[in-house]
């Protein structure tokens, strides 16, 4: 009976709110927004109920990815203050419950998307979930300091899936939006990594500022901002968008590059004095949001 007493926390069924926390709702909100934008700019018509179902499926797929990520990274999360209070490391949920929930939600989201819209979109959603879990979480995250670059790809899939839900194929414009999120992620995340001193090192995750140093991180931010800028302007150069997106992209990318250049030139190591780094991080969120608003406005107003 002694062992039973010790496992008492596991006998307590997890609160339903902990299952919600397992899906990383805040990460999900970005997927919902960009999936909606991808869906909104696609040519052709989709019934509003099916559009809603498509966005819901993509959100559930993102939630499943979050749950499976937390299932796999329980030990890593336990070693870091920021994540130690998640349901699994805090002991509020049985690890197997998280696995079952994640796998179940993943299958459900893919099947729902396939039945409601088409199997091309469903296949890309399945690919995105597998990519996030196998390529990012299991394979690359513990092994390379460029892990966040690869992780960005998983976050870049939603507009592609939203588009495919309408057209059943992929096209240059959603691929450009994929590239925009993909190359936006490194400067966005590394700006945060500069001023938030996380304990990734304790958990054995090779984050760039820890492994390569802050100067290398600042240089990489500047480098990826260049590639991001090229992706942002690609739809303009290819004639895929009109004057609204073109103007927005030029102005906002210019501001982004200015902020990134300031960060690149600085050598500040005290997080309390990292004003420009904080400004780049905050602006990066606004930037992505406004760029997607602009591409939707472009399509709707100039259509």
């Amino acid at each position: 009976m002694n062992s039973l007493t010790q496992t008492t926390p596991h006998m307590m069924p997890a609160h339903w709110r902990d299952f919600v926390a397992l899906t990383k709702p805040r990460v999900m909100s970005l997927a919902i927004f960009t999936a909606f934008c991808g869906l909104a700019i696609a040519p052709g018509h989709i019934h509003p109920v099916l559009a809603f179902t498509a966005v819901l499926s993509i959100a559930l797929g993102a939630g499943a990815s979050g749950a499976l990520n937390q299932w796999y990274e329980m030990d890593v999360d336990a070693a870091m203050r920021r994540t130690a209070n998640r349901p699994l490391p805090a002991g509020r949920m049985d690890r197997q419950a998280a696995l079952h929930f994640g796998v179940g939600l993943a299958f459900f989201s893919v099947i729902l998307l396939g039945l409601a819209t088409n199997w091309v979109a469903a296949a890309i959603l399945a690919l995105a979930i597998l990519f996030y879990i196998i390529v990012y979480t299991i394979w690359l995250k513990p092994r390379t300091a460029q892990n966040i670059v690869i992780g960005g790809a998983a976050g870049a899939f939603p507009p592609l899936i939203g588009w495919a839900a309408v057209t059943a194929d992929i096209a240059p414009l959603p691929i450009a939006l994929f590239a925009l999120i993909f190359f936006w992620t490194p400067p966005h995340f590394w700006a945060l990594a500069l001023f938030v001193k996380t304990d990734y090192a304790n958990a054995g995750i090779p984050m760039l500022p820890v492994v390569a140093g802050e100067q290398a991180t600042r240089r990489q931010i500047w480098l990826y901002t260049g590639i991001m800028g090229a992706s942002a302007l690609a739809p303009v150069a290819l004639g895929l968008t009109g004057v609204i997106y073109g103007t927005t992209a030029v102005i906002l990318t210019g501001i982004f590059a200015m902020f990134a250049f300031q960060v690149y030139r600085r050598r500040e190591i005290d997080p309390a004095l990292m004003g420009p780094e904080r400004r780049l991080f905050k602006f990066s969120i606004l930037y992505l949001f406004l760029m997607f608003v602009a591409v939707v406005a472009d399509r709707w107003v100039l259509a």
């Binding site: 307590m12 069924p13 997890a14 339903w16 019934h47 109920v49 179902t53 039945l115």
Partner: protein, 42 residues
């Protein structure tokens, strides 16, 4: 197991049952709406 623990477990189970029920109800409505949407497109 103390009575307090048992009460807490029962409360958790009740909460999960209610949420599961609401989700299933929402899915019934969703699948109905999808069906109508698919029929109306034909």
């Amino acid at each position: 197991m103390t009575p307090e623990e048992e009460n807490q477990i029962r409360a958790r189970q009740r909460g999960r049952a209610i949420v599961t029920g609401l989700l299933l109800g929402a899915l019934v409505i969703l699948f109905y709406a999808i069906t109508i949407a698919k029929i109306s497109m034909k």
